[in-house]
């Protein structure tokens, strides 16, 4: 794709831009009279505090403080409300009062990502170049390639970055590296890439150390708090499929000799919480390496406790005990295995191996368990 739009001035050095992984070429929204703004923005947005005049046009200045609205927005997306639409416009943003020598940081257009970056930049003068990652965070977008070489090259052109800053240096978050070939960006745009720290809170130290990140700043962690904030989305996603299961139970109850009651639902809910919340939170403390195994072990303990509390280990409840002990630990195992997608250390090959080994027994045990439970429900 040639980057020469109809209205943009011819670049000094003509170059062709190789586009890998890019979604459809962006529509040409400009026609030959008005130049496109560097960044599309709305001054009414509470996190934009002003605008900065550059040689190439106006750039929004953003606050380094998070308001109640930002925090409430973060809370909502953590609970899966509007998570896919929590975006800002790609383009160039200013922090403080940057000039042509100020550093340029590159980030994603997921607002949660943008907020966690800007709140660490208090007192700095710098530029933030936001890529169009379709509202996805840096690491996931890098995995998909939307936070990638092609989009960085494209965004440098679109924001006319090389005419706004006089240096040729970009700071990328280290977790963007899976989508980026630093040497390719240098080859095609002249900009060199410095990979910054994994966590935004280390950025000031990184800048002070002359763009050097310590080994500690380069390591990904996955603390209990990190894991806890991810669990509501897991729980809510699982809860959506539960509506379907409740529908089936409702129909069965119309005809059953022993209908499903609150005790059954509570036992089921316990297994769901075990798979989506307790296992992720306790992850490294549970024996085993495979997530499915961890979820199954905890699910077994929790289900056994629930069955015992409900008195189903007694002779007339034994079918319920067998049924639930077959269904629910496997259900917890499956839910726990889903958490691999949120974890920071599982490999593709590992997940594939885990699935191939665990999915067949999970399915068999759930199917057999359901049959046992249905026999119990209809047995007179």
């Amino acid at each position: 794709m040639s980057e020469k739009g109809c209205c943009s001035p011819a670049p000094n050095k003509p170059r062709t831009v190789k586009v890998k992984n890019s979604s459809a070429p962006e529509k040409q929204c400009c026609c030959c009279s008005v130049a496109e703004p560097i960044t599309k923005y709305d001054l009414a947005d509470h996190w934009i505090t002003g605008e900065l005049e550059t040689e190439k046009g106006k750039v929004p200045v953003v606050s380094t403080r998070l308001s109640f609205k930002d925090k409430f927005g973060a809370f909502k997306v953590r609970f899966n409300i509007g998570r896919m639409k929590y975006q800002i416009n790609p383009g160039l943003y200013a922090v403080g009062n940057p000039d042509s020598h100020s550093p340029v940081m590159v980030s994603a257009n997921y607002k949660l990502t943008f907020d966690s970056l800007r709140k660490e930049l208090d007192g700095l003068n710098c530029w933030i170049m936001i890529l169009d990652t379709k509202g996805i965070n840096v690491w996931c977008a890098a995995g998909k390639g939307t936070f990638g070489t092609a989009e960085i090259i494209n965004r440098i052109e679109k924001t006319k970055l090389s005419e706004i800053v006089s240096h040729k240096k970009l700071i990328l978050p280290q977790l963007g590296a899976p989508g980026v070939s630093a040497h390719e960006i240098t080859k095609q745009t002249g900009f060199t890439v410095a990979y910054g720290p994994v966590r935004a809170c280390d950025i000031k130290a990184f800048l002070q150390a002359d763009y050097k990140a310590t080994d500690e700043m380069r390591k990904v962690k996955f603390t209990m708090r990190d894991r806890l904030v991810l669990t509501p989305v897991e729980f809510i996603t699982a809860a959506k499929t539960v509506l379907f299961i409740l529908g089936i139970i409702f129909v069965v109850n119309l005809f059953a000799a022993r209908p499903f009651v609150a005790a059954d639902l509570l036992t089921f809910a316990a297994a769901m919480v075990t798979g989506t919340i307790i296992t992720p939170v306790l992850l490294p403390f549970i024996p085993g390496k495979a997530f499915a195994l961890k979820g199954w072990l905890l699910g077994l303990i929790v289900t056994a406790c629930m069955v015992w509390l409900n008195g189903w280990f007694a002779v007339n409840g034994v079918l319920l005990a067998i049924g639930y002990l077959l269904v629910l630990p496997s259900y917890s195992a499956f839910l726990a295995m889903n958490f691999t997608g949120s974890s920071t250390y599982t490999s593709f090959s590992g997940v594939l191996k885990e699935m191939k080994i665990s999915i067949p027994p999970i399915i068999i045990s759930i199917v057999v368990g359901c049959i046992v439970l249905l026999v119990k429900a209809f047995m007179r």
């Binding site: 590296a177 390496k289 250390y345 593709f348």
Partner: protein, 97 residues
């Protein structure tokens, strides 16, 4: 507490012959899998590799290969169902302009 995942699964491979010891791979690795020794990259903790592909993509001499992909169950299931490469379809298609 350090997280450990399945052993002996990573497809990470390094060609020491091609390696020029620039250290980019060590720099971008989020799990300290690679170390530079005697001006050559060495894989020191292969089991910690999550196959993100950062080292491969940032190696200027193509000395590293890894089957990079997302370690995510729902992505793999979606791949099986649609008979395509696993991808986490976490983004809705939205227009750019």
């Amino acid at each position: 507490m350090k997280h450990k995942y399945l052993k002996d699964v990573s497809t990470l491979e390094l060609s020491t012959d091609k390696c020029i010891g620039c250290g980019k791979c060590k720099e971008v690795c989020p799990h300290a899998v690679i170390e530079i020794e005697n001006r050559k990259a060495q894989i020191i903790d292969k089991n910690a590799c999550m196959e993100c592909g950062a080292c491969m993509n940032n190696c200027p001499v193509n000395a590293i290969s890894v089957h990079a992909g997302v370690g995510c169950v729902s992505a793999v299931i979606r791949g099986w169902l649609t008979n395509s490469e696993p991808s986490c379809d976490c983004s809705g298609g939205s227009d750019c302009c």
